[in-house]
């Protein structure tokens, strides 16, 4: 009987946490020493927001196997909810006086509000939308996304007071999204999706993707799981929106056009649908690359779209396919390789 080296799950969590801590330490040291300039710190935060968006869409798209085209709508709802809440609190004065620690509880409340409001919209949209399949689902979520944008633009004239400030934009939002907050939220979101997908609920979601009728016939409540995965995806998009509002400082409904949803979808597809690692990698590459190519900024969107088409023709499964990075698996493989070689020598 061959004995295999395995790392127990709690140990692998500790290992991952340690690695993430080391990465955080390295980046914060680079920020404080000035190796990463303010400009690049902004890009790092944008990358973080895009990672949350891509991984949350990956949940609905890659794992659940649906094609929602209204992700930007949920992001918008979360962004406006968080921003309106933060503007109502004394957060701006606290940030100005440098008391960032006191902003933290306000931020936590804002994120929860964003997630809840986006989640409510997720339920409202998900229950009717998920009755449909494939292209129809795509189109109905696209429609909802556009409706959310039009409502955000015009709601003030119906309400009679300034609420979203319409097309002029919601300005002077306290800039509460620091790199640390963003880094932590990215990890939290990935952790939530990871644990959800590794639980029996996650396996139920995967079985719906593989074959909905078969899943239903073995007793899985498909409506419940479809809706819950969709709502979780919407909630996390809302969190990303909240982070975005706190980073950018002013919100315009035109930011959350249909094209924004497509941009997020492109990240998921290029990374490989159903691969968390792929989504993260694609979010990083697709955010950083345009910045690096700024010198060719006239051509970058053309190159970007060309890359998308070529990718689909030559590698339709995405960069990573359904491969997922796992430190635990890699270490086990290396150690087992060493053990086997020793045995071979004996």
């Amino acid at each position: 009987m061959k004995k295999k080296f395995t790392i127990p799950t709690p140990a692998s969590y500790v290992l991952n946490a340690a690695i993430l801590f080391v990465i955080w330490l390295a980046i914060s040291m680079m920020i404080s020493s000035g190796v990463i300039t303010n400009y690049w710190r902004g890009i790092l935060i944008t990358i973080g927001i895009n990672i949350v968006l891509a991984t949350s869409l990956n949940l609905a798209c890659g794992y659940l196997g649906q094609l929602p085209l209204g992700h930007a709508g949920f992001m918008a709802v979360g962004a406006y909810a968080g921003a309106i809440f933060m503007k109502a609190t004394p957060a701006a004065a606290l940030i100005r006086s440098g008391n960032t620690l006191a902003v933290l509880p306000l931020f936590v409340v804002a994120v929860i509000i964003s997630a809840l409001v986006a989640g409510i919209f997720g339920i409202l949209i998900g229950i009717p939308a998920l009755r449909l399949k494939g292209d129809y689902l795509a189109i109905i979520t696209l429609g909802f996304g556009e409706i959310i944008r039009v409502v955000l633009t015009n709601i003030d004239s119906v309400l009679g007071f300034k609420f979203t400030y319409g097309a002029a934009g919601l300005a002077r939002i306290p800039k509460f999204t620091s790199f640390n907050i963003c880094y932590f939220m990215v990890i939290l979101c990935i952790f939530i999706i990871h644990t959800f997908m590794k639980s029996r609920h996650g396996r139920a979601v995967l079985s719906i993707r593989e074959n909905e009728i078969a899943a239903e016939s073995v007793g899985i409540n498909t409506t419940f799981y479809k809706t819950s995965a969709f709502v979780l995806s919407a909630m996390l998009a809302g969190v990303a929106g909240c982070l975005y509002a706190g980073y950018i400082g002013s919100l315009y409904p035109s930011t959350f056009k249909f094209m924004k949803s497509i941009e997020i979808l492109v990240m998921v597809v290029l990374g490989g649908m159903g691969s968390m690692f792929g989504s993260v990698l694609a979010a990083i590459v697709l955010t950083a690359l345009p910045e690096l190519l700024r010198a060719f900024s006239d051509y970058r969107m053309v190159v970007y779209s060309l890359a998308l088409v070529l990718m689909m023709i030559f590698r339709p499964e995405g960069l990573m396919g359904d491969y997922d990075f796992s430190l635990k698996r890699i270490i086990q493989k290396i150690v087992n390789g060493i053990i086997n070689r020793r045995k071979g020598n004996e």
Partner: protein, 293 residues
């Protein structure tokens, strides 16, 4: 709103509606045959509009020649896109095909921005003037638009129902494999469908310029989405459905604008779409497909 404004608005609606209907036909035919939401279709219209603009503004061609040139260019572009981007993916999952279409749409929009600049290009209207019937003013542009699109749709219906190629198209959309076994050339039929759809888009772009005489790189995206909504509303894959859907969306928009709610126009269109999809997911004239295990 008095009766005459209502009539005037309905004529306006018919004018934009016939553009939507022409574009929706392209969506619907392509969807019917390879089950692809051709997101690039709206941008083909944009290219057509630029061809019309440049041939009139820079080369001083007569409008009719400009329109014919636009139709030819759109047809070539549509078939080229199909050959380069969609044919290699025919056996790939439908989602990759959809993403490719989105990529092509991106490419056309950004390519146009690079070539023609991001600003709007305004031109003098191709069809000027109008007449009045009672107290309802009707522009010649509206008459031309409605007449041309009705002729185009009639021609398309005859083509699909009476010719051999039309029979091949219907056969392929019903069952690709069986059609191939019957000796129908898949590549030729699909290319032909794209050619017809793109030619209609070319006509649509000229008619669009009659109503709104300006072209910009992003003009195709919203027009395309609206036309797609029209196709879904009428029942995607169905040719008369696309026409009904197009006119319905056009009139709906005009009525919303007449009620001084034009900023809610997009929301109303999508809301109606959602209601239709929820109660009759296959659209007004769509066929119900039984799903088998």
């Amino acid at each position: 709103m008095d009766f005459y404004t209502l009539i005037a608005q309905i004529i306006n609606g018919l004018q934009t509606g016939s553009v939507y209907a022409l574009v929706a036909l392209g969506y619907s035919m392509v969807y019917g045959i390879i089950m692809l939401l051709n997101f690039a279709h709206g941008d083909i219209i944009m290219v057509g509009a630029y061809v019309v603009y440049y041939s009139i503004a820079s080369f001083a061609l007569p409008p009719l020649l400009a329109v014919i040139l636009a139709v030819i260019m759109c047809t070539i572009l549509g078939v080229a896109i199909e050959k380069v981007a969609y044919t290699p993916l025919r056996s790939a999952p439908r989602l990759s095909l959809l993403i490719t279409a989105i990529g092509i749409s991106f490419l056309l929009e950004n390519g146009a921005q690079l070539l023609f600049g991001a600003d709007q290009k305004s031109m003098s209207p191709m069809v000027k003037g109008g007449f009045s019937m009672g107290s309802v003013g009707i522009s010649y542009a509206a008459v031309v638009t409605i007449v041309v699109s009705v002729i185009a749709m009639t021609a398309l219906t005859i083509l699909v129902n009476k010719t051999k190629m039309g029979k091949a198209m219907r056969a392929v959309s019903e069952d690709m494999g069986a059609a191939q076994l019957m000796g129908i050339s898949l590549n030729r039929t699909i290319s032909f469908t794209f050619a017809i759809g793109s030619a209609l888009a070319g006509i649509g772009s000229a008619l669009y310029l009659c109503a709104y005489p300006q072209s910009s790189p992003t003009m195709g995206s919203m027009l395309g989405i609206k036309a797609f909504v029209a196709a879904v509303l009428g029942g995607i894959g169905s040719i008369p459905g696309a026409m009904i859907g197009g006119f319905a969306i056009g009139i709906l928009e005009a009525l919303v604008a007449a009620a001084h709610l034009s900023m809610w126009k997009d929301a109303v269109v999508f809301f109606v779409l959602i209601i239709v999809l929820l109660f009759k997911p296959t659209g007004i004239l769509g066929k119900k497909i039984q799903e088998k295990v």
